[in-house]
Each structure stands twice: as structure tokens, then as C-alpha cells.
């Protein structure tokens, strides 16, 4: 037997052995759109994966593939995971929606969980977080803290998710500071440190002393630090390495409880297709520690807002709210329904500029 064939067959035997051992384990796959070290979106999903490993130990095996392009590449990676015996697959980007549905059709016994989408099937669930609740807390802090009354906002793509965040932040900043103005820059990327840094610099030059971001890198934090006297908020992950200033707080995506619960459901055989949209109350949206750069009374107001959102006594979109064109949207005391929020494609009254279309 040649050395190469020997090595190959040895490796094959090893491969078979691990497959056999894995048979009684629950295998969970994760498909990531960015690198696990992005410090934001993908990083937090991977923290969720690690929490699953910690929670179930030997009973679970997790696999992941990072930097997976949306489209046919993602479809191939999901198929591959299903072929290799995954029981549950989390696909963590909006662009994976149709590929997830396609693959799910071919593997009716594998469960799929698609983040931030709207298409479900008997073996496909969707899940997303009510980040806009976190934006309400951020808006409260931003409104109090700004001295120039100009808040800069780095938008990623003009999709409902991002528009909702801008509206929520604006409404709550305006509530505590009627003179506040929002300046919005669209970066057209989720993760591009160079573009994000440029966007932050432009906003700071235009007088913004608070920068909110809906992009995933820490570049805006670094730009704010260089500029001095500008505050920022961590996005998706805590970004506490930029605290106590410029980063004064953050919105953290905490997927761990959801991932653990869904894995448990597969183990118990109780998994069912569902559309989950959880916020601060369920722990899917976390508010990072508010640093000492924020005065005590502002911190108190922000925490009160957080508590009210968590226990459901307050909804982040409570009327009276008009749309940007002045037409009425929510009457006094009326709260927004999930359908409108999910497809939100308008700014509320007072925000300047248009949603690029």
C-alpha cells in the first residue's frame, strides 16, 4: 500500500469514527455573514454558539462557517451542514432568506432558524430582536448629552430595520431635547471600517457631538476618540474597550438564551416553527453599562426607560406620532402594530432628509 493511500484511508477511518460518535449528539450549524472577529454582529452570534456549547457540553456539537456570501454560496454551505448531519441550522443574515427556504425544502427533517427574515416553513423559524427598544434608551441619553444639538447617525442600508432604529432614537431624543437635530449618513455596508470611519468624521465635522451607528465595526468609536468630546454607543456588541468615553453605553444582541432554548427544543422534540421578535424584556436586546461620562440623572432616566420597555408598561412607538410629511400615524396613546414596524419605510415628523430609494 502506498503511503498516500495509507494516510488517506487512516484519515477516512478517523472521519468515519467521529461521524459515528456524533450520531447521538445534537449537531447545530451556524452560517455567518462576516468574520467571527468582527467585534459586532457575527461576533455576538458566535458568542451565542459558544453559550450553546457551554450549556450542553458533550450532548451537542456545533459547527460554523464564517464569511459566507449571500446567494448560492450560502445555499451550498447550508446543504453541506445538512448532509453532514446537522439537526438545527441558524442562518444569521437577512440575505440568507431564500437560500434557507430552498435548502429547508430538501431536508424536511432538519430545522432551520433564519435571523431577521420574514419567510417561514414547517421546518423554518425566524427570529429577530427589537433593537429599536435599545434605540429608545440611546435616544434618551443622546438627547440629554448633546450640546451642539446635532446627533450624527451612521445608517447601513435603508431597510425597515434601520429606519425603525433611526425613528426610535429620534423620537426619544426629541422628547428630552426639543431642539435636537439628526444628521444621517448612509454607509451602504454592514461592516467596512474605512467607510464607517469616514462617515463618522463627516458627521463630526458637521457639528455632531453624539454618533449613533447601525454598522458593526468599532471604527466610528475610534474616530470619535480622535476627535475628542464626542460620545458614541457600542453596536451589536458592547465595544467596552472604547469606554468610558467616547462609548457611553451600547446595544448588545444577546442570542445565547434563544439559541440555548431552541437547541433544547430540538433535543426534547418540541421544536416548532415560530416567528420570534424579542426585545429587552426577553433578554435578546441588552443595554451595555452606562459609563460615568453620563451624569447620574441622565443615567437614571435612561434606566427608567429601559425598565419601562422591559416590563411592557411603555412601547417605544407610542402616539401621538406623525409621519415625516405631517400626516398622522399614531393617535395619542396608540402604539404601533408589529406589521407596520416590520415593514417601516418612512421617517417620523421632524427628521430631515429622505430615505434613499
Amino acid at each position: 500500500m502506498k503511503l498516500t493511500t495509507l494516510l488517506t484511508s487512516a484519515a477516512m477511518a478517523l472521519g468515519l469514527a467521529t461521524t459515528a460518535m456524533a450520531a447521538d449528539k445534537t449537531k447545530v450549524g451556524f452560517v455567518y455573514v462576516g468574520p467571527v472577529g468582527d467585534g459586532g454582529w457575527t461576533y455576538e452570534h458566535d458568542q451565542g454558539r459558544k453559550a450553546v456549547v457551554e450549556a450542553f457540553g458533550d450532548k451537542v456539537e456545533t459547527v460554523y462557517v464564517e464569511n459566507v456570501a449571500e446567494g448560492p454560496d450560502s445555499e451550498r454551505v447550508m446543504t453541506q451542514m445538512a448532509l453532514e448531519g446537522a439537526d438545527l441550522i441558524f442562518t444569521t443574515s437577512f440575505g440568507y432568506m431564500d437560500p434557507t427556504i430552498n435548502v429547508a425544502k430538501k431536508f424536511p427533517n432538519v430545522r432551520f432558524e433564519h435571523a431577521t427574515g420574514y419567510k417561514t416553513a414547517p421546518n423554518v423559524s425566524t427570529y429577530s430582536a427589537r433593537f429599536y427598544e435599545g434605540r429608545a434608551v440611546q435616544g434618551t441619553i443622546a438627547g440629554h448629552m448633546t450640546e451642539s444639538n446635532i446627533v450624527g447617525y451612521i445608517g447601513s442600508f435603508p431597510i425597515p430595520e434601520v429606519v425603525r432604529g433611526i425613528n426610535s432614537a429620534y423620537i426619544h431624543a426629541k422628547k428630552v431635547n426639543p431642539d435636537v437635530q439628526f444628521k444621517i449618513v448612509w454607509a451602504f455596508t454592514w461592516f467596512d471600517p474605512a467607510k464607517e470611519a469616514d462617515a463618522a468624521k463627516v458627521l463630526i465635522e458637521q457639528g455632531a457631538d453624539v454618533i449613533l451607528q447601525h454598522t458593526d465595526s468599532t471604527a466610528p468609536q475610534a474616530a470619535a476618540q480622535t476627535a475628542g468630546n464626542v460620545i458614541t454607543f457600542g453596536q451589536a456588541s458592547d465595544m467596552s474597550e472604547y469606554g468610558p468615553k467616547p462609548r457611553v453605553s451600547s446595544i448588545i444582541d444577546d442570542w445565547a438564551p434563544y439559541y440555548i432554548a431552541r437547541t433544547q427544543a430540538v433535543m426534547d422534540g418540541t421544536w416548532e416553527s415560530a416567528m420570534t421578535w424579542d426585545g429587552i424584556g426577553a433578554g435578546m436586546v441588552g443595554i451595555g453599562e452606562i459609563s460615568d461620562a453620563v451624569p447620574a440623572d441622565v443615567k437614571e432616566a435612561a434606566l427608567a426607560m429601559k425598565a419601562a420597555l422591559a416590563d411592557g408598561s411603555y412601547h417605544a412607538f407610542t402616539g401621538p406620532i406623525n409621519k415625516q410629511d405631517g400626516s398622522a400615524w399614531l393617535a395619542d396613546g396608540e402604539t404601533a402594530d408589529d406589521g407596520t414596524l416590520a415593514g417601516m419605510n418612512f421617517f417620523v415628523e421632524g427628521i430631515e432628509g429622505e430615505i434613499p430609494q
Binding site: L7, T8, A11, L14, G15, G29, P35, V36, V63, Y64, V65, E66, N67, V68, A69, E70, G71, P72, D73, E75, R76, V77, T79, Q80, M81, L83, E84, F94, G95, D98, N102, Y118, F157, P158, I159, P160, F188, A342, G343, M344, N345, P356, Q357
Partner: protein, 360 residues
């Protein structure tokens, strides 16, 4: 002492052997890299190169090789024609995007009407879109002497903005709840570039890639234009004396590469990808540059190189999933392949000789 001696003629043997040696060197050094990351090197190499072809699930991966390789080959063939003549189209990614947008727009303009001629019209739209986008650097170069490398590259970023605009505005799925992205062409039979034999991965893009390989081979070896292309690249002065019109050659080469890149975009959007979305482009236009050089700018070489690149992508993803290799390690591995190829290229043009060092 080792010294390099220029060969009077580039070595044919080495020119053929270097790609193989480069692949072997990549396996060895890649294996070392994986070992240093604490992963089993032999298993990793086997996962990347062997499993997609002959592993347990090869029945699924083999068709995927065609799906992944076809756009690379189609674009690289077009690029190689220009590269041979010293015309550097670096913006195939942009032409790919525009081809996809135009082709998808043609198809969606007919939605939901079903007719046999819709798909052929989309194919024409895709080719025209890519051609037109490549004509911008071509005409600017011919008229004003601008640098086609810069112009074609910059136009990639313009194309990306148009892609975002298409996904958010004029091609946005009206039934998409306000989310970006077009209708899925896979659900529109007249526009769907389906597998010709179900599950084979053989869609029209694969057929087009094969035709392009044959076409380029015949063009370069049997046709006057092919001769002009080669002559311009190898001896520009001689080419001028031979009556080659450089402007015409620039327009032709950039036009052909643009049209092929546009076709690749159209076949991708109407088939495997299914829809126009903000992140539709996955870097095929840039990877194809590597494929063109890996394949020695030779049509058959490009076909093999496209297959090899597709293999490392698919195998790389399997290795990530099964062995926990980080995607950055896979990218380094792919980078090594090009590095070794270019480094070993030296042997084609130079001879390594061992000589006793002489006292100067």
C-alpha cells in the same frame, strides 16, 4: 552559489509544470499552516481537494463545482484576451453586476407573462449591459488616453451603488414587505436559468463557459484577430508595423471581456442566486483575474484553473465546517496558490545554476 541565468526562450516544460508544482507547494506549506493552527494537516488538505470530488457527498459537490467554476471561467476567458494584448480590464466585477442588473430588468419587465423568448432576451441584455459598462473605460482610453486599469476598477464601485439602488428601488420586490431585493427569478419559469438536467449543476452559464473556452481557443490559434492580440502583447512595435489598429483592439478586447462578464452576471442572477440583492456580487470578477493568470491566459488552462479555484472554495467551506478552520486560513491558502505560481514563474524564464563563487 546559486545564480539565475536568463533562458534564451521561455521553457515550455516549466510553463506547463509550474501550475502543478505551485499546487503541490501550496499543499505542503498550507499543510504546515494548518498544523500550526493545531488542525490535522493531511485531513485538512484531503477535505479541501479530495472530499468535494470523491468524498461521501461528492454527488452534491461535483455539480456545485460547475456552479462555482462557470462564472469564473466565463469571466477569466474574456479577461485573458485583453491581458494577452496588454489591455488590463480590472473591472470585470462591475461588468458582472451591470450584466446582472440589465438582464434581470429585462426579465422582470415581462413579469408575470410567460414566453419562450424572455430568457434569450435576458441573455442579450446581460451581454449588452456588461459590454456597455466595459465600453466606458475603452472609449475613454481610445479618445483621451486614460488608464483603463483605474477607470474600470473605479466603475466597480459605481456599479455597486447602482446595484444597491436596484435592490432598494427600481427592482425591489413589491411583495417583499419593504425589504431590499428583487423578486426571485427562480420562481418565474420563463426567466429561470434552471439546471438543464435536474441536480447536475449544468445551467446555461456552464454551457456558455464551455463555448467561450472553445471560441477563445479557436480565436487565438486560428484567427487573424487572435494573432493580432498575441502580437500586440509580445511585440507592440511589430504589431503596429503589421497593421494592427490599437484602438480597434482596445475596443474589441474590453468589449468582449465586458460582454462575457455581463453574461456571467446574468446566468448567476437568473440561476443559482435567483435575485438582485445589495450583496449580489461575491467577488467573481476579481477572483477571475487570479483564474486567468493561474490558467496561463490559455483557454484550456483557464478552464482547469477555474475548476481548481472552485474546488478550494468549496473544499475550504467544508474544512471550515468540519475541522473548524478559520476562513482567514483558507484565504491565506488560496493566496499561497497565486504566490507560488508567480514565484515559480521565474523558472519559466530563468535557469537556476549552481556555480562556484568567484573572487571578485
Amino acid at each position: 552559489m546559486i545564480s539565475l541565468e536568463k533562458r534564451p526562450q521561455p521553457s515550455r516544460a516549466w510553463s506547463l509544470a509550474t501550475p502543478l508544482v505551485a499546487v503541490l507547494a501550496t499543499m505542503v506549506f498550507g499543510g504546515l499552516l494548518f498544523a500550526m493552527l493545531g488542525k490535522p494537516p493531511v485531513e485538512a488538505i484531503r477535505t479541501i481537494f479530495w472530499d468535494p470530488l470523491f468524498g461521501e457527498f461528492a454527488f452534491y459537490y461535483r455539480p456545485q463545482l460547475l456552479v462555482k467554476g462557470a462564472p469564473l471561467v466565463l469571466i477569466a476567458i474574456g479577461l485573458s484576451l485583453g491581458f494577452k494584448a496588454g489591455i488590463w480590464n480590472i473591472g470585470a466585477e462591475g461588468q458582472y453586476i451591470i450584466g446582472a442588473i440589465v438582464g434581470a430588468s429585462v426579465g422582470l419587465a415581462f413579469y408575470p407573462y410567460e414566453a419562450w423568448y424572455i430568457f434569450p432576451l435576458m441573455v442579450m441584455g446581460g451581454a449588452l449591459g456588461g459590454w456597455a459598462w466595459a465600453m466606458i473605460p475603452a472609449v475613454l482610453k481610445v479618445r483621451f488616453g486614460t488608464n483603463e486599469i483605474l477607470v474600470s476598477l473605479m466603475l466597480v464601485y459605481v456599479a455597486e451603488q447602482l446595484l444597491a439602488s436596484a435592490s432598494l428601488r427600481f427592482l425591489k420586490n413589491p411583495e417583499g414587505f419593504g425589504f431590499p431585493g428583487s423578486r426571485n427569478l427562480q420562481d418565474y419559469p420563463s426567466a429561470f436559468n434552471a439546471d438543464l438536467i435536474a441536480g447536475s449543476g449544468m445551467h446555461w452559464g456552464v454551457v456558455a463557459a464551455l463555448i467561450a473556452v472553445i471560441f477563445a481557443y479557436v480565436l487565438l490559434n486560428r484567427h487573424m484577430l487572435g494573432f493580432h492580440i498575441r502580437l500586440t502583447g509580445e511585440a507592440p512595435r511589430a504589431a503596429r508595423f503589421a497593421g494592427v489598429n490599437p484602438s480597434r483592439l482596445i475596443l474589441l478586447c474590453l468589449g468582449m471581456s465586458g460582454a462575457l462578464a455581463g453574461l456571467a452576471g446574468l446566468f448567476e442572477v437568473s440561476g443559482p442566486a435567483g435575485q438582485i440583492s445589495i450583496d449580489f456580487n461575491a467577488g467573481y470578477g476579481f477572483t477571475a483575474i487570479i483564474v486567468a493568470f493561474l490558467g496561463r491566459l490559455h483557454p484550456i488552462g483557464i478552464m482547469l484553473a477555474g475548476g481548481l479555484m472552485a474546488l478550494t472554495y468549496i473544499g475550504g467551506d467544508i474544512a471550515q465546517s468540519n475541522l473548524g478552520l478559520p476562513s482567514a486560513a483558507i484565504q491565506v491558502f488560496q493566496g499561497m496558490l497565486l504566490f507560488f505560481l508567480l514565484a515559480l514563474d521565474l523558472l519559466t524564464n530563468y535557469r537556476v545554476t549552481l556555480r562556484k563563487s568567484e573572487v571578485a
